[in-house]
Structures are given as structure tokens and as C-alpha cells.
């Protein structure tokens, strides 16, 4: 039985990854999860310099999900390389570094800094809804997405995944722009912009007023977008959005995803990634599936 998948020449032992921002750099969950078992660890977004992020409250639970407006707090690329990447070297898993920035040159600084590091792929975050400058500004316009993808591809030593926002009119157009600019893969969806109001305090639940919705509540939207994007392009798609178990993960694969990522559900159950991996294997046994790749886009 084969569970391995390949994206841009990088081989993953299974299609299960962590979604950026929900798993730290793996360290925080290593008490719970044997990181060696994961297809890949996708790290929390990192910028060229440390970012303070947004004021609190930064998180709020909503029906079937949660809102967050962390604002991409991160320690900056230097600390990340010395501490987080060094930690991940101990494990036999692939490392995908999520990169964020406020300007094109911020992104390029990080990409360049990572050139000679033990990083398997880069995931470019052009879809965070919680920062005022940069980030999503590059992810909501076809021309801006094309330009930043081209710039990054020009200097990147590792294959590049563009992480797309669901807060767009046509996900297919965005996927095509990323592909045309040379992206090696796309990942989706990032969170959906939302809002919650505390009616007892008559205030916004988040200090940032709006936040990104994640969790099982967004899964049908994510499956639909993965389906549309994977039919629009020939590059591999990494699917995510509310994956709680193997059934959810298989839905994404059948919609067209080569790999999947577990996000907010890590907060609900730190063992979710392992349960998804074991559940996929059980499904393959049950239905006599020899190769996980047979299931991709089967609907």
C-alpha cells in the first residue's frame, strides 16, 4: 500500500501536513505527536524581522470553528533559522516554511535567507486577512499575485507553494495566475474573513474587529475551492480547511488535492494529524486502494 505523494520533486511519506500557524514550528506539539510520522511540518509564518502581531483578544470560538487575528506575530527569520529550523533537523519529515511580508522585498529577504537552509519547500503567505499591509494585498488581485509569484520564483532555491485566499471572487483565476507565474504548487484555503460581536459587552469579540474563520465550519467551502482550483491548473494542490479526521482529508483528495493539511483541529485534539494518517490507511485497506494517488480527483 502506498501513501507517499510527490509535489515538485519532493517526496512526502504521506499526504498529511500541518497548516501554517496552527502547529508552531512543531516543537509545541512534539509532546503529543511523533513528528517523524508526518508528511510535512508547515511552520508558522516567518518574516524578515520580528513582528509583534495584533492586540488581544486574538481568538474567539464560533459555532463549529474559531476566528483568529494573531497578526502573524513571529520572531523574525534569524531566530527562526537558529532555533526552529535547527529543532526540525532532528526529525525525518519534510519541512515547509511559510513566508510572510509587508512588501515584496520583505518576502524576497526571507526567501533568499532560506536558500541554503534545510528547507524542502517554501509556502508564500499572500492570504492572511489579519495584517494591514502586505500579505492579503498580494493575494486578492490577479496581477499582484502574478507579480509577487514571479519575483519569488526568480530567486527561490526551493520549490514554491503559493497559499491562496478564499476571500476572492474566482479562486480558479487566482490559481491560474500563480501557475502562470511559475508557482510549483498552490495551497488553499487560508481563513475566511469573519466577525463576531459579544452582545453582552456590546463589543467586537476580537480586538482586530475581523478575523480569519477556520475549523469544520469552513470545510465545504474549502472542498469546493480545492475542486475548482485543481481543475483550473496542472500544478499540485494542497488542500486544507476544517479537516478533523480521515474522512475529511479523503474528501479533499477526491476533490483534487495531492496533499492535505490539518489546521484548527490541532487545537481541538493535538493527535488529529496522527488520527488522520491512520484513518487514511484504514480507508485504503477497507476499499482495497493500493495507492493514495489513485484517489486524487476521482469525483
Amino acid at each position: 500500500m502506498n501513501t507517499a505523494v510527490e509535489i515538485a520533486g519532493v517526496k512526502f511519506k504521506n499526504p498529511v501536513m500541518t497548516a501554517s500557524g496552527t502547529f508552531g514550528s512543531g516543537m509545541e506539539y512534539s509532546d503529543f505527536v511523533d513528528l517523524n510520522r508526518l508528511g510535512a511540518v508547515v511552520t508558522k509564518g516567518v518574516a524578515n524581522v520580528p513582528w509583534e502581531g495584533n492586540p488581544t483578544p486574538r481568538v474567539a470560538e464560533v459555532y463549529g470553528g474559531m476566528l483568529n487575528a494573531i497578526g502573524l506575530q513571529n520572531p523574525g527569520i534569524d531566530v527562526f533559522v537558529e532555533r526552529d529550523l535547527e529543532f526540525l533537523k532532528k526529525y525525518d519529515t519534510k519541512v515547509i516554511v511559510n513566508v510572510c511580508g509587508k512588501s515584496v522585498s520583505d518576502y524576497l529577504d526571507v526567501v533568499e535567507r532560506l536558500s541554503d537552509e534545510a528547507v524542502d519547500m517554501l509556502e508564500i503567505n499572500v492570504s492572511c486577512p489579519n495584517v494591514k499591509e502586505g500579505a492579503i494585498a498580494f493575494g486578492q488581485k490577479v496581477s499582484a499575485l502574478f507579480d509577487i509569484t514571479s519575483e519569488i520564483k526568480r530567486i527561490a532555491k526551493q520549490p514554491v507553494i503559493m497559499k491562496l485566499s478564499p476571500n476572492v471572487t474566482s479562486i480558479a483565476e487566482m490559481a491560474k495566475a500563480a501557475e502562470a507565474a511559475g508557482a510549483d504548487a498552490i495551497s488553499l484555503i487560508n481563513t475566511i474573513t469573519g466577525m463576531k460581536i459579544d452582545i453582552h459587552k456590546r463589543k467586537f469579540a476580537l480586538a482586530n474587529k475581523t478575523g480569519g474563520l477556520s475549523g469544520p465550519a469552513i470545510k465545504p467551502v474549502a472542498v469546493r475551492m480545492v475542486y475548482e482550483a485543481s481543475h483550473a491548473v496542472n500544478i499540485p494542490v494542497i488542500g486544507m480547511g476544517g479537516i478533523a479526521n480521515a474522512e475529511d482529508a479523503i474528501e479533499f483528495i477526491m476533490a483534487g488535492a495531492t496533499a492535505v493539511a490539518v489546521g484548527a483541529m490541532n487545537f481541538h485534539d493535538p493527535y488529529t494529524t496522527i488520527n488522520v494518517i491512520e484513518g487514511i490507511e484504514a480507508y485504503m485497506k477497507q476499499y482495497g486502494v493500493q495507492d493514495i494517488n489513485e484517489l486524487r480527483g476521482i469525483v
Binding site: T22, G24, K44, G53, P57, V59, E61
Partner: protein, 264 residues
């Protein structure tokens, strides 16, 4: 090591209006320290996140922890339905706890306000049980309540001298915990406190003005509880060693901080 595990409900009762007293049998009791907390999961399918609840008491011999919590929403409302023999899912133990060693040879005062009262019970108990060089010179408790529903007060009296403040003046000093400190002329070298933010801010100012060391336990909306999501940060005076910005994770570097390190 942190774990997500099943805990057996030993008992549950109402302590005061909206305040519940729950004993759980769990392996996590072995390593639990005062000031630490656990994440308790509601089972409702619509909920996602564990509810952070401070540990009120630990009975290591019986592998049991006591949680005294307030009902604030549908998740905590669900917890009130649990009966002896039921299982609950908890994540723990989380956070750092109070540095009891800071009380050695000192006049220690534990201060709690509202639902910040419970974690100080185990703190007061352990401070009172310290021996030899670790022993505090004295241990006093100052607890603040809204009204005459002074939950846990009888238990504080058993382990330390207790002073009470109530907002409506029905018991003890009328006012807050600092009013009680002043009215009763309570002397302190080190304060361990948990309560609402205005109370913690006032304690920090009081401690600075009087040359007292203070350790404050903070509360914030939390998601993961294990330091991954960066949801529950507080502002710090210096650049934090982990984040490399002036933010510290309440769930991991806290919930207890040296007041000098906090930008409240």
C-alpha cells in the same frame, strides 16, 4: 509531559451562584503545581477549543485535582452536567505555576479576586506546608468577593490567616483586596495574585510603591493552550526570550508572571 487524557469525575457541587466545584481523578495530578491549569473540552460538536481552568487543589495521593470554575458560556454550562462516574476530556498540565520558592523566609500574601480565588487555595496550602529554609515567615490570604457568597473561605482559614473584602461590604472590608490590605495593615514581602485585570494592575502599582515582589496570574482568550497559536499573549516590559518581541504566551511562559516583567 503534556497530555490529552480522560479524567473521571469524582464529585461535583455548587459552591456559590454560578460557581462549581469539581473533583477529577487523573494521572495529571501527579505533576500538577499551584497556579497551573488544565484545558477542559466540552463534548458538543459545535465547540472546538478547550476551556482553560485553573487548578484549585491537588490530592496527589488520590490522583485527583479540583477545579472550581464559573459558568461563563455554553461550554462551562455543559461541564455542570457531569456526574460522579462520568468521564471528561482534559489537556494538561499547562502553564508554569507560582514560584513558591520566592516566599522563603518572607511574609507571603496570596490575593484572589472572584474566579481568581481558586488557584490561590493550593498555593496557600503548599506555602503553609513548606519546611526549613523554604518556609515563609508568614502566610496570609486576602480574598475579594462580590457579596456574602465567599466560596472557599472556610478552606483558606484552615491553611492561613484569612482576610476578606466584599464589594457590597457584607463580609470583611467593604471594597477590594487592596482596601483590605490597607484596612487590616497586612504586611507583605511577596504577593501571589490572581483575579481580574483591574485588580492585577492595582496590585502591581501597590507592590511597586511598597517595595513588594509580586507574581500575577493572567487570563486571556486561549486557543491551543500549548504555545503554538500565539492567541493568548500579554505585553511584556522586555523582549521575550521566546517570541523575540514584547509579547509572552500566557499559556506557556505564564500564566504566572513576575509583575516587573508585565506591561499591564
Amino acid at each position: 509531559m503534556k497530555k490529552k487524557t480522560e479524567a473521571l469525575v469524582i464529585s461535583q457541587r455548587i459552591l456559590a451562584e454560578g460557581i462549581y466545584d469539581l473533583w477529577l481523578e487523573t494521572e495529571l495530578a501527579r505533576d500538577a503545581k499551584p497556579g497551573q491549569f488544565v484545558g477542559v473540552y466540552p463534548v458538543g460538536k459545535a465547540t472546538l477549543l478547550p476551556r482553560p481552568i485553573s487548578i484549585c487543589e491537588v490530592d496527589a495521593a488520590k490522583s485527583a485535582i479540583r477545579l472550581v470554575y464559573r459558568v461563563v458560556g455554553s461550554g462551562t454550562a455543559e461541564f455542570t452536567l457531569y456526574q460522579p462516574g462520568d468521564n471528561m476530556t482534559i489537556l494538561g498540565v499547562l502553564g508554569n505555576g507560582f514560584p513558591l520558592e520566592a516566599a522563603a523566609g518572607k511574609r507571603a500574601v496570596v490575593m484572589g479576586g472572584g474566579i481568581g480565588v481558586p488557584p490561590l487555595l493550593e498555593t496557600a496550602k503548599r506555602l503553609s506546608n513548606l519546611e526549613g529554609g523554604e518556609k515563609p515567615k508568614s502566610v496570609a490570604a486576602v480574598m475579594g468577593y462580590r457579596d456574602a457568597q465567599t466560596f472557599l473561605s472556610g478552606e483558606f482559614e484552615k491553611v492561613s490567616k484569612l482576610h476578606i473584602a466584599t464589594e457590597d461590604g457584607s463580609v470583611g472590608t467593604k471594597g477590594n483586596v487592596l482596601d483590605a490590605m490597607r484596612e487590616e495593615a497586612i504586611e507583605a514581602d511577596v504577593i501571589f495574585a490572581c483575579g481580574p485585570m483591574p485588580m492585577l494592575k492595582a496590585i502591581k502599582s501597590f507592590a511597586v510603591a511598597n517595595g513588594i515582589k509580586a507574581y500575577l496570574s493572567l487570563e486571556e482568550r486561549m486557543a491551543c493552550g500549548v504555545g503554538a497559536c500565539l492567541g493568548c499573549v500579554c505585553k511584556t516590559t522586555k523582549v521575550d526570550e521566546h517570541s523575540h518581541v514584547k509579547n509572552a504566551r500566557i499559556c506557556t511562559e505564564g500564566p504566572v508572571f513576575d509583575a516587573d516583567d508585565l506591561d499591564l
